[in-house]
């Protein structure tokens, strides 16, 4: 995050002079204006010139297939309307995107694709198939070919998240806590292998998982898991046999904090950005997986019949 830094960078040069000097300038202008038509510059420039020309949005993921990374890159426009004609969109960008592994120094050029979005507007999405190495820093940069104008974001691919699985708790509900060592969990899925037979026909049933706050474990509700499994197998199955539970998470990088609930707050320029000399946000995440056999007592308490 660069919230405070960005705020500082946006600050224009200090207004020169105090009240006395301002008044002297005013007096001079009056004298000047009374004698010379059009004296003084009245040009109004609404634009900040030193704040960068690009915005970049995307997520660099180190996870399973597919390995294609994508980045939306825009040239900051003078007018609100995004381009709708291909020539217009192409003319707006004219830039190259590259990623650099800051440990090895390897640089990879990305390929531009022009995308037409559902609302009819056009935009540039850069793609490259590779899997970033967990724990390694990368720099993504966009450079305008005509004048070398450049924006970049440096981010570290988080290390592979590892899980610590607690003993289940059998109370009013049957739960089990799974703690991950990631800075923040950006995505989590839980699946369970179940069948109506103890020997054949096992299938995976996926259930949603509430994302935990940073530092807190994921609470697995085994009762809800059983209900989802029964719903998946159908009412004719007398017993739900379970073999394994698998949780897959995406650990977010430290530069990717929890977004605020208020979209307008999040959209305030500089409030949620990690792009230098530009705008936007690029996240990074690494997938981690934990698979375990549930405790027999707890699974039976939830309604399952464990099979090991």
């Amino acid at each position: 995050m660069r919230g405070s830094r960005q705020h500082h960078r946006l600050r224009p040069p200090r207004q020169r002079g105090g009240a006395t000097q301002r008044f002297l300038i005013l007096l001079a202008l009056v004298v000047c204006g009374a004698s010379l038509p059009g004296c003084g510059d009245t040009f109004v420039d609404p634009f900040l010139r030193d704040e960068g020309s690009f915005s970049m949005y995307g997520v660099l993921l180190s996870e399973g297939s597919p390995d294609v990374q994508r980045l939306r890159v825009q040239l900051v426009r003078a007018l609100p309307d995004p381009p709708t004609e291909p020539e217009e969109a192409a003319a707006q960008l004219g830039s190259d995107v590259a990623s650099v592994d800051l440990v090895t120094g390897d640089s990879i050029a990305w390929t531009e694709r022009q995308i037409r979005f559902p609302d009819g507007t056009l935009g540039s999405v850069f793609e490259r198939a590779f899997r970033p190495v967990p724990g390694r820093p990368y720099r993504l940069s966009v450079t305008r070919r005509s004048d070398g104008e450049r924006a970049s974001a440096t981010l570290t691919i988080p290390p592979t998240p590892r899980a610590t699985i607690s003993e289940p708790v059998v109370a009013d509900r049957v739960t089990q806590a799974v703690a991950w060592d990631a800075a923040r969990i950006a995505r989590a899925t839980l699946s369970v292998r179940v069948s109506g037979s103890p020997t054949i026909g096992f299938q995976s049933v996926f259930v949603p998982v509430d994302l935990p706050l940073p530092g807190e474990p994921v609470e697995v509700d085994l009762d809800a898991l059983f209900q989802a499994s029964r719903d998946a197998l159908g009412p004719l199955v007398p017993t739900v046999y379970v073999s394994r539970l698998t949780m897959t998470v995406l650990g977010a990088s430290e530069e990717w904090p929890l977004p605020p609930d208020d979209l307008r707050e999040m959209a305030q320029p500089g409030a949620y950005s990690n792009v230098d000399r530009g705008y936007g946000f690029i996240g990074a995440g690494t997938q981690g997986t934990a698979s375990w056999q549930p405790d027999a007592v707890a699974m039976r308490a939830a309604g399952f019949e464990p099979i090991y």
Partner: protein, 770 residues
Amino acid sequence: MRLPFVLIALLAALPAAQAQVGSVRGTVTDATSRVPLQGATVRLLPESAEADTLGAATDGDGRFDFRRVAPGAYTMRVTFIGYVAANEALTVAMEETVERSIELVPDTTAFGRVRVTAAREGGAAALTAGLQTVTPADLALAPVPGVGGDLAAYLQTLPAVTTVGDRGGQLYVRGGEPSQTLTRVNGLRVLRPFHILGFYSAIPTEVVDEADVWAGAFPARHGGALSAVLDVRARSGNADRLAASAALAPTLSAVHLEGPLVPGRVSALVSVRESLLEQFLPTWLGQRLPYRFGDAFATVDARLIDGLSFGVTGLRSHDAGQIAGTLESFLGDAVELDPTSDSLDVRWSDEALGASLGWAPRAIPLTVTLEGHGHRATSGFGPEDPPADPTALDARRQSRVEGWEVAGNAALAVGPGSVRLGAMLYDASVSYRLADRFVGLTADTSDVREVAIWGEAEARFGSVRALAGLRAAQFQPVDAWGIAPSFRLAWEGRGVLREVSVGAGIAHQGVTGVQDGRDVGDVFTAYVPVPEGADLPRAEHLVMGSRWQVNTGDGGTLRVAAEGYAKRFSGLQIARLDPFPGFTAALDPGDGEAIGGDLRVDLNQPLAVGARLALGVGLGLARVRYETDAGGSFAPSHDRRATLHATGRVDWNRWSFSAVVQAGDGLPYTPSAGFEQWIPIRTPDTDVRTEAGQTRVLYGERGSRRLPTYLRADLWASRRLTEGRVSTTLQAGVVNVTNRANPFYFDLFTLRRADQLPAFPSIGLKVDIR
């Protein structure tokens, strides 16, 4: 909270009323033309040493009225510069009224009209703790296209007033926003008192008797406004004879008629003005001038029976046009606007109708007034017929306020002071509809109500005048009470130092006027009530000043006034700087402060061969800051730090030559880096191939840049011929004589820039029949 106790103490200290009195009233006119003379001095000099000498000045209809005169023999002495003084003996009996009509004979050795202007007790330097009383003679110092002056143009020459320029009808008084200034005309509320061409107010000069401009620390009788009060009292019309005027000018032509309906008892005044720009000057120097505006005013004043009076006043003003009606400028490359797709239409209107009933019994020095009125104000931005799709380019913002008010007050003269008590109820429906591009439709209608009671006590202790007051008001829907004490004190000197004054007070306001702070020079205002549960907007005022006067010889005077002021605002509802394009009614609570000082110099000096010079210079320094939790501290769009205004007028025989120069440093605006499609990267599942994103404006620091320095110089010449009761005035001049491109409006979303008027010559003819 000591002020209530001060008020009580003052009330207790005042001596008992004297009921055994008579009264003297009458009129003063020019013996040759029969024109009523405003500002003539009328003094009652008692033959008995026990009675006090009384003095008064005639009003706009030449009337004077002494209501508490001790019985006895007097000499009435009437003086007016340029006329031979008149003396008349009279005797006042208990509970009787003596009426006199005085006709003053012009002094043929002097230049009457010239001297009249010079002798007035008005001017920018006539300033007491933020209060300035403007007279018709003042208005002549700031001529406007057409003939004569105007209240709006004159106010713009005061350092206490900041304006966005020569159009838009927006005046900011000492750090306050336009919606924080309460304007009343004969008690009627007027939300937009200024026309789209900012030279003109909606109140014609022929109508104005006096206007009190309370730039702060206003007394308890005024409330419901955070920053300032403009209280205009209209003339009631000539009760003795018919009078009329007609003015013809491309910018604004006018007709006014006044006279007795029942001679001596019922008078009426009607004024109608209409701009003829579209008909006669649709383009000028290749630029379009698409402005339509006008106003109508009518009042009837009746003295029913002795001591009882009744008045009805109605007014209507309308404005429409394109504030960017001149040229579109894209970073300096000017192109002609396409009128079919231009979305910068702006319009507003004000209507009000009210009546008042006054009772002033002769037996006791008491006046009782009951008033009631209704009003409606509308404001619009965007084309007249908005498209069905609110996301289309041409969209519309609308705002409307409809309300009524009843009020009553009683004033009792007690010895050298007075006591006033009053109450009012104001009820209004406030609505807005914003069908802006990008943000869809938002609309709301709310009922607002203000119930207030107030009391004031005014007293004189030797050369010290004191006014203390307390106002208690309940506001809905915010459901909050505002307790507002006020205090004013003035010491009057007799030497060079004429006065030292101080004023302090608290004010509250239950309705917020929201302007989009993102466009430079935006003129659209949406009125939004302070929501329930929010803090009631409050302002604390402090103003201190002093006045000096020096005789410069040959009847000339140099008057200087200096004032310092501070206003602290809390509970403000400040428009949020939204990252998504489009007007927003989303408000953030915030605070603010305005600190500044004015220096005003007036010189009235007879010159050789019968000429006279009137010169006024006003210097103002100010600093306005707003602060919100979300946006931090910033300079709002009316934070003009320095102003320099100068008016000069030379009257020579029947000629008048005037110059007005206005300068001010640039107003703040918020720059941006441009626009992009914002994609909220909340989860790693965000697919940048399908997310088109939402258009976002990349603002920089709020209010961190300033427009170019505002500078305008106007030159005028007029000649007046008088033949009997008829006088004819021909006025010609140039607005913005240096043709400076002062920016007025800059739309950060369309990059449209509108400049204020280029060098704009004007000629006008006016005929007065008095």
